[in-house]
Symmetry: C2
Subunit: 241 residues, 2 copies
């Protein structure tokens, strides 16, 4: 069965957390909005249906046969066990879900560094507020979240450098993406902070070296970060802590 991933074309965005799992697993999937003969209109039609049941609020969502699964953490919780990227143990799966939801919260905060007032307006219309929010983000929020994930890695009773259990899970892949994005958008902060989080940096390097991830990153399927996405490089927001 081919999975169908629905997400905005042209950006990595939240879809990338799902894409990394599908790619690492070598899963058979189609990226609907980018696929020949398909496109964004198909995604919008599913979201805007006023007759269908189980419509998603927003992308990304995944279709597996007739089932629609929405929200990154929900998709990964569903997909993880099927593609070998979740722990076997049920309690650990629950813990992994909690970690992924912490990633979700962090990503929402990243988004709000450039859109602190209104998603319906351009960044250029909220630049002063974005600067203030980015200052808070760089000063307080990056160390709070990265410090937490560093502790999770250090305090994993299985050791081995994974977030959960003794194998690579979708949480590890998501933490890789978090570091990639932060390095792009907040380069000065990351240069300052990285040495404080050795376990996270090691995890990032080890995910990057996984054969399917390395192949994906080198492919045209991996879009570059850009200023339509969630992680944006605006020099005025790249504040040194």
């Amino acid at each position: 069965m081919t999975y169908e991933l629905y997400y905005w074309d042209g950006i990595q965005g939240r879809g990338e957390f799902v894409r990394l799992a599908l790619e690492d697993a070598g899963a058979d999937y189609v990226d609907v909005t980018r696929a020949t003969g398909r496109g964004t209109s198909e995604m919008l039609k599913r979201m805007e249906s006023t007759t269908e049941a189980y419509v998603p609020f927003a992308p990304p969502f995944l279709r597996d046969g007739d089932q629609t699964i929405s929200h990154v953490a929900n998709i990964l919780f569903y997909l993880g066990p099927k593609v070998g990227l979740a722990p076997d143990d049920e309690a650990l799966r629950c813990f992994a879900n909690g970690l992924q939801l912490t990633v979700t919260d962090f990503i929402a905060e990243v988004h709000d560094t450039h859109h602190p007032i209104a998603t319906s307006k351009y960044y250029e219309e909220q630049k002063a507020e974005a600067r203030d929010r980015a200052f808070e983000f760089v000063t307080n929020r990056i160390p709070k979240y990265l410090g937490y994930f560093e502790r999770i890695l250090a305090q994993n009773p299985e050791g081995g450098g994974h977030a959960v259990g003794r194998t690579t899970t979708y949480v590890d892949l998501s933490l890789f993406q978090v570091i990639e994005g932060l390095r792009y958008a907040f380069a000065k902060a990351m240069r300052h902070y990285e040495e404080s989080y050795p376990n996270l940096m090691k995890l990032h390097a080890s995910v990057k070296a996984r054969p399917n991830i390395a192949a994906y990153l080198a492919s045209s399927r991996r879009l570059a970060f850009n200023e339509d996405g969630i992680f944006r490089r605006y020099p005025e927001l790249d504040i040194a802590p």
Copy 2:
């Protein structure tokens, strides 16, 4: 087995979504930070441990024996089936989780109406930005989210006025709380919008009338909304659409 709920004392906040499920189910639980002989320090100790595994990032979290479950949606996904507030069908449970994560996103936006720049600062230090964000929230975000939930209720193939399937789930309880909170914090907007969402209003009334919910709401365990919580009544943010 007694469930242990950990959340900030003195506010409903995000803990309330879990509390409503525990109360509706008549589950045996202790609200740790409010319990005699216990308190907030116990919660902080669990969060701040630098030796334990599986530490939560933030409250609320639930303890069930030795297992710690964090994040509202994760807690409800775990708890729902055990207390009879989740659908039996696995695909519907997954859909319920997606809906609960939409509630989560909405609640984060509610929070940011009074804290658009920095959670580390007082509301009074970001009032001008809060006013702008609240305007966006009232104008665009309330109708976007409530319109979505209204469609979910209307397009539920089981009918019956529930968000998922044909029975009351934790999602219904959470939607009740969303309406309660909005009526408190954004009274003018809700007076304007409510007639557009008849299914949501009916669901709100039916949850409110459930015997265990009614008893809980009348009890001292239900704290009043206040201006330390997530839903806050600031006259200057109670903007008419």
